[in-house]
């Protein structure tokens, strides 16, 4: 009876998938929803016997998962992974079905899974991963999860459902590190040691000690609320990281050179992606790889030629116009991207895209927490584009941040946007949030001749 259910679920899922493809759509979660309706515990049935690594957290999931896949690709190891970014339970189930025979027997023995925070407890319970990685916790999609402390609670519940898993946590993020306080799991912390920012910590996402309520203090700080934090009240502090960046040296135009320290020794890592937040992504990926028992040296070496994951910081060319698409979806991530945009000078065409679909978070208030003021204090642009369901909110935000309202062009359609980018006569930098990225990237990459994301 069980076998029949699994078979029917897998079959129905495939038929749904073919149907969607026939219509030319990129639906990645419906086949999983259909299958789970028929066999509710399908994911746990399929996941049995698959060695699984699960990543979650607010920012950096997709890039970190991309690094892990790149490590496996470089080593020639076979695995499955939800690379299209469908990271709800339904999308993850669909990915497992894709890699199973119709009887439910898995063709792959290793899985790298990126998981949404809200779905994390259910997915962890079903898959019983060997390793869990949490990248960080910031304010994101508040209307879906309520508040960041609720998100933390989801992660805590999830970790408790897999007591045998090794958990890799960001020591520099007080919210993430606190997940290790009271769990039976083996915990490995990672963090950045050798970087100190002069800016005041913007700790608004995590100002107070979760144990005693006292305000956190910092011996050293990297960005947002990340750094060497401690609580003057109860004495809790950043745990010493086992996997650490001893030093980080930016390599202009190329990325970063990191001196990596692990219990096994020190080595240099050449990371091909720029910006400190990608150093954190590399550390999460490397601590996960190490916890999985992969060859850490080879994994570190492979980051030398790791390019960007789709939409996270991707370059293409439309005619003679270089175009970069950089995903922006919450204040902390946005501020990093705005710093990057400012570093490019004024001879660029910035386009800000804002949707408010469920997968974006239907509340767009966060754009007022991002520091667009810092950008317009430094830069004035001849022309700025805005597009998306909430384009007018974006325009208003930019006006109050100091942009000249007359320089802002509101594109009513994607074609108008693409046309303006193609004719910009200067490099375009497109900053979309999640679902805006899916459509914008689809449009621009078709013009540039790149593949659609689900292919």
């Amino acid at each position: 009876m069980k076998k029949l259910r699994v078979f029917l679920a897998c079959l129905a899922s495939r038929l749904t998938r073919w149907g969607i493809r026939l219509l030319g759509r990129g639906g990645t979660s419906l086949p999983g929803k259909v299958a789970l309706r028929i066999c509710p515990d399908l994911l746990s049935v399929l996941g049995r016997g698959v060695d699984t690594l699960i990543l979650t957290g607010t920012n950096g999931k997709t890039t970190t998962a991309g690094m892990l896949r790149h490590m496996l690709d470089t080593a020639g190891t076979d695995y499955l992974s939800n690379r299209s970014g469908a990271n709800l339970k339904s999308g993850i189930t669909a990915e497992f079905i894709q890699n199973a025979a119709i009887t439910g027997r898995m063709k792959k023995k290793l899985a790298v899974i990126e998981c949404d925070e809200g779905n994390f407890p259910a997915v962890v319970e079903a898959l019983q991963p060997r390793v869990i990685v949490v990248t960080n916790l910031f304010r994101d999609q508040l209307d879906r999860y309520g508040e960041v402390s609720h998100t933390r609670e989801y992660l805590y519940q999830g970790i408790r459902k897999a007591p045998a898993a090794t958990v890799c946590l960001n020591a520099d993020c007080s919210l993430t590190a606190s997940l290790g306080w009271d769990v039976p799991n083996e915990v490995v912390y990672y963090g950045v040691d050798g970087v100190s920012s002069d800016a005041e910590p913007n700790v608004s996402d995590a100002p107070h000690c979760l144990a005693c309520g006292e305000r956190y203090a910092y011996r050293r700080h990297t960005f947002a609320h990340l750094g060497d934090w401690y609580c003057p009240g109860c004495g809790r502090s950043r745990p010493a990281p086992a996997v650490a960046a001893e030093s980080v040296e930016p390599v202009p135009g190329a990325g970063s050179r990191i001196v990596l320290r692990t219990p096994e020794g020190e080595r240099t890592v050449e990371l091909a992606l720029p910006a400190l937040y990608n150093v954190y992504n590399a550390l999460s990926a490397l601590s996960a790889a190490r916890a999985m028992g992969w060859d850490t040296d080879a994994c570190a070496e492979s980051l030398r030629d790791f390019g960007a994951v789709f939409g996270r910081m991707e370059s293409m060319k439309i005619g003679d116009t270089p175009v970069q698409v950089v995903l922006v979806k919450n204040p902390a991530g946005c501020d990093r991207v705005l710093e990057y945009l400012a570093s490019l000078g004024e001879d660029v065409f910035p386009v800000f895209c804002l949707n408010d679909n469920v997968n974006d978070g239907t509340d767009v208030s966060w754009i007022w927490d991002a520091d667009y003021e810092a950008l317009f204090a430094k830069r004035a642009y001849e022309s700025i584009g805005v597009w998306g369901i909430r384009a007018e909110d974006m325009r208003l935000r930019l006006k109050y941040a100091g942009a000249e309202d007359a320089s802002i062009r509101v594109f009513a359609t994607l074609d108008e946007l693409a046309d303006a980018v193609a004719r910009a006569g200067k490099p375009a930098v497109v900053l979309p949030n999640y679902t805006a990225m899916l459509t914008v990237r689809d449009k621009l990459s078709t013009l540039a001749g790149k593949s659609r994301f689900w292919e």
Partner: protein, 245 residues
């Protein structure tokens, strides 16, 4: 002319783009050549509140709201009450609004004493009221339509002597049942609308600024501004909610 704005508890009550309200008030004063000084008073700082004209209190997470109570009990509660009774302008959003009331009963039945400055009570529930919404301001607040985004578990019921800020047109407002939204007492404006509320509602913003200017200078006028971007964003949401002005 100049307004001195005090942002109370920016370190704790700062969710959901609240600082956009400060940015909006500052810009709309500066564009008219009126001075604006913003002082942030984080938790635990001691300061005399009588020098300020306008107070802003934002929303926070449940956990962080309890952190506040010791600070309020250490004397700030009385200073806030005195300023409100003195006709000073307050804009209080979501958690900051709830703090003005007598207290909060959590979904588990636990009672938390708040400031008791105004006679209302908030009850927590696990079902959050989330989404874009609209309400019409009462006549004492200008009578216009305000669009915003609400996200709260708390259901607020005003005491019989209190006037709501407005009447819900779309969405939930104070409790999803009696059709009221927020509170208006003297120059105190309390609302569940974050979003942030002011940029897309320039008339509401100007009304709040005017209340503080009139209190301080006896009379004031605000020159009209070019509000094309404000009105475009506002119109989009009014259409989407099927609400007419």
């Amino acid at each position: 002319m100049e307004l001195k704005i005090c942002h109370l508890y920016p370190d704790v009550l700062n969710l959901y783009g609240d600082r956009g309200n400060i940015a909006c008030m500052r810009r709309r004063l500066e564009w008219r050549g009126i001075g604006c000084a913003v002082t942030e008073l984080p938790l635990g700082t001691v300061d005399d509140l009588t020098g300020y004209d306008l107070f802003f209190i934002g929303g926070g997470q449940d956990f962080e709201q309890t952190v506040l109570l010791s600070d309020l009990n250490a004397g700030r509660r009385d200073d806030i009450r005195a300023a409100a009774e003195d006709g000073k302008t307050f804009l209080c959003i979501c958690g900051g609004y709830q703090l003005l009331g007598r207290g909060y009963r959590t979904a588990d039945g636990e009672w938390c004493d708040y400031t008791g400055i105004l006679d209302f009570v908030t009850e927590g529930s696990r079902d959050r009221m989330i989404g874009n919404y609209a309400f019409r301001l009462g006549p004492e607040s200008g009578g216009g339509v305000v669009v915003g985004f609400e996200n709260h578990g708390g259901r607020t019921r005003l005491g019989s002597g209190l006037t709501p800020l407005g009447a819900v047109l779309k969405g939930c407002g104070n409790n999803g049942q009696d059709g009221t939204e927020g509170v208006r007492y003297r120059n105190v404006f309390g609302t569940y609308s974050h979003g942030p509320v002011l940029p897309k509602n320039p008339a509401f913003c100007d009304g709040i600024l005017l209340s503080a200017l009139v209190r301080k200078y006896g009379g004031a006028e605000l020159a009209p501004l070019e509000d094309a971007a404000e009105n475009a964003a506002r119109r989009y949401m009014l259409n989407r909610l099927h609400v007419t002005e």
